[in-house]
Amino acid sequence: MTEESDSPMTDTDSTTTGPLVPEDITADSPFTLPGFFAALAEGRLVAARCTECDTHLLPPRPACYGCGSRAVTLSEQPRTGEVISYTSVNRPPSAFDHLAPITVAVVELDSSARLTGRVDASLEDVTIGDRVELQVRDPETVDIDPDFGLSYEEEWPIHVFELI
């Protein structure tokens, strides 16, 4: 993880627990996938952060896999981070054929949250430690076979990293 952080993480939720009652589990809440992707479509990458052990959970979920606590809060994430590992998918699932070879990476954001994503660069241009920035793309602009998506995923944006 790097020292500098041009878009520091901020907790967006003043509460210190995730959803504990059934009524709190709604498609508006970033603790569910529809809520998470709705925020992402607006440019906000939201993780859950455990207030007990500081583990980041991406996408957000109601409990921390690190320590078991449900004292988790929503936390808007920085869009920048660095490549922790990377490879190239030479024979992707058939829906992604047109994109092959696909460079993918595990990225650690400046908050320490991690996520996997495509990197908009060829394999030879990527190495561990490279700085990247998250971009959010409309699913219709990404050349993935529409049949791949489930009905509820149709509006969900696709994320991709660009080298910076």
Binding site: S88, V106, T116, W156
Partner: protein
């Protein structure tokens, strides 16, 4: 608590075959029950490990396998944890026998992976990975393991050549295994020169797409004594399992903690420790897994698992003398997903009963099996088996 014994094992041919899944199962069952009464007179329950219904468009595998074995109106359940399904079937059978729920249970696994070609297998296996962020980024099984391998090579002294040595060793072991899909040696230069699949993983770092089935009979003391004329059953002495992260991004890329927990639990259950293990079948779906699992099983110090490819007398102090993947492992014996955990049990059974032929490890009396599903130890099932 009853003791659980493995009293009979069988497997189908492994590779690209002309037989559908149920017929592969029939092959494995026929071998397991050679010289035994009918399955219906021996077992009163069944578990079948099967990864995906996408290969043959068939769920209800428990019912189907029970019918094909002549079992009627008994519990018969399919279990699923991607490539850990086979050991999960074994674990459930052992649990039932130990608890006295059943006197004997059939644990089996089957996968007809070639039914939809490479594309069908890629798509079916892709379902084992996290959907929202990772599947939607186009990842595949080789790619998720390549992400582990890249980081492992970055953090340790291991090289791509060290990973290739694992494949070379496992192919060499498979030469002496008549069950193996690839009964042929591969030299290190061939492995190093092979095409990239997902860099740094090349063709020989990856287990093949395999059709196959396996079946083992798990029984209590009484059934084992009734059916075995010589004292060559194998005791299931320890069981452990654990689930870890589904998303590769959120897991530790260079330590398989869940596998360590599963193996440690199985050791404790069996009253053994890592140094007692003579032979181990560990889940080398990709070469890097064997290194990671050697560390998780405490056969080698962290970050140094690659040295277990050396003969025991050539290893440094701090490494145990275990022989890993004497069957050829997933790489060379073959990897029919839902059957793999049971193929591991077949090899341990043969090693512990002195039936392993030219690959027999002298004085082998304790074995560890580690079967995994999802990326690395997203799900791990470990068993310790001992000779009687």
């Amino acid at each position: 608590m009853s003791t659980a014994h493995l009293i009979a094992v069988g497997s189908s041919p492994l590779g690209k075959t002309d037989l559908p899944g149920r017929d592969l199962f029939s092959k494995a069952l026929a071998e397991a029950f050679e010289g035994l009464p009918d399955p219906a007179d021996v077992v009163d329950g069944l578990y079948v490990g099967a990864q995906s219904e996408r290969y043959e468009n068939q769920i209800m595998q428990g019912t189907l396998m029970a019918e094909w074995a002549g079992l009627r109106n008994v519990p018969a359940e399919r279990v699923e944890a991607c490539a850990a399904a086979g050991a999960l079937a074994l674990k459930n059978a052992v649990r039932d026998v130990r608890a006295g729920v059943h006197d004997a249970v059939l644990a089996c696994g089957v996968e007809k992976m070639t039914a939809g070609g490479t594309e069908g297998a890629t798509n079916a296996l892709g379902a084992a990975f996290e959907r929202a962020l990772e599947q939607r980024s186009g990842i595949t099984a080789p790619a998720t393991y390549a992400l582990l391998a890249r980081r492992y090579l970055h953090e340790t002294d291991a090289t791509e050549r060290d990973l290739a040595k694992i494949a070379v060793k496992n192919h060499q072991n498979a030469v002496a295994n008549p069950r193996a899909m690839f009964q042929q040696a591969v030299d290190i230069e061939t492995a190093m020169d092979a095409p990239d699949v997902a860099p740094p993983l090349k063709l020989y770092d990856c287990a093949p797409v395999t059709d196959g089935a396996a079946a083992v009979v798990v029984a209590n003391d009484e059934v084992a004594a009734d059916l075995q004329s010589r004292p060559d059953t194998v005791r299931v002495a320890g069981v452990g399992s654990a689930a870890n992260n589904l998303a590769v991004a959120e897991r530790d890329l260079t330590f398989v903690e869940g596998a360590n927990v599963a193996a440690s639990t199985a050791y404790e259950d069996a009253g053994v420790d890592a140094a007692d293990i003579d032979v181990a079948e560990v889940h080398d779906a990709f070469t890097v897994c064997e290194a990671l699992l050697a560390e998780a099983a405490e056969f080698a110090p962290k970050g140094r698992g690659i040295e277990t490819v050396e003969d025991p007398e050539d290893r440094s102090a701090g490494w145990t003398d275990v022989q890993i993947n004497t069957s050829g492992g997933l790489k060379a014996r073959g990897h029919p997903i839902g059957a793999t955990g049971l193929l591991q049990a077949v090899e341990a059974y043969e090693q512990l009963t002195g039936r392993a032929g030219e690959r027999q490890v002298a004085d082998a009396d304790t074995a560890l099996l580690i079967n995994e599903g999802g990326v690395a130890d997203a799900h791990t099932v470990a068993h310790v088996l001992t000779a009687q």
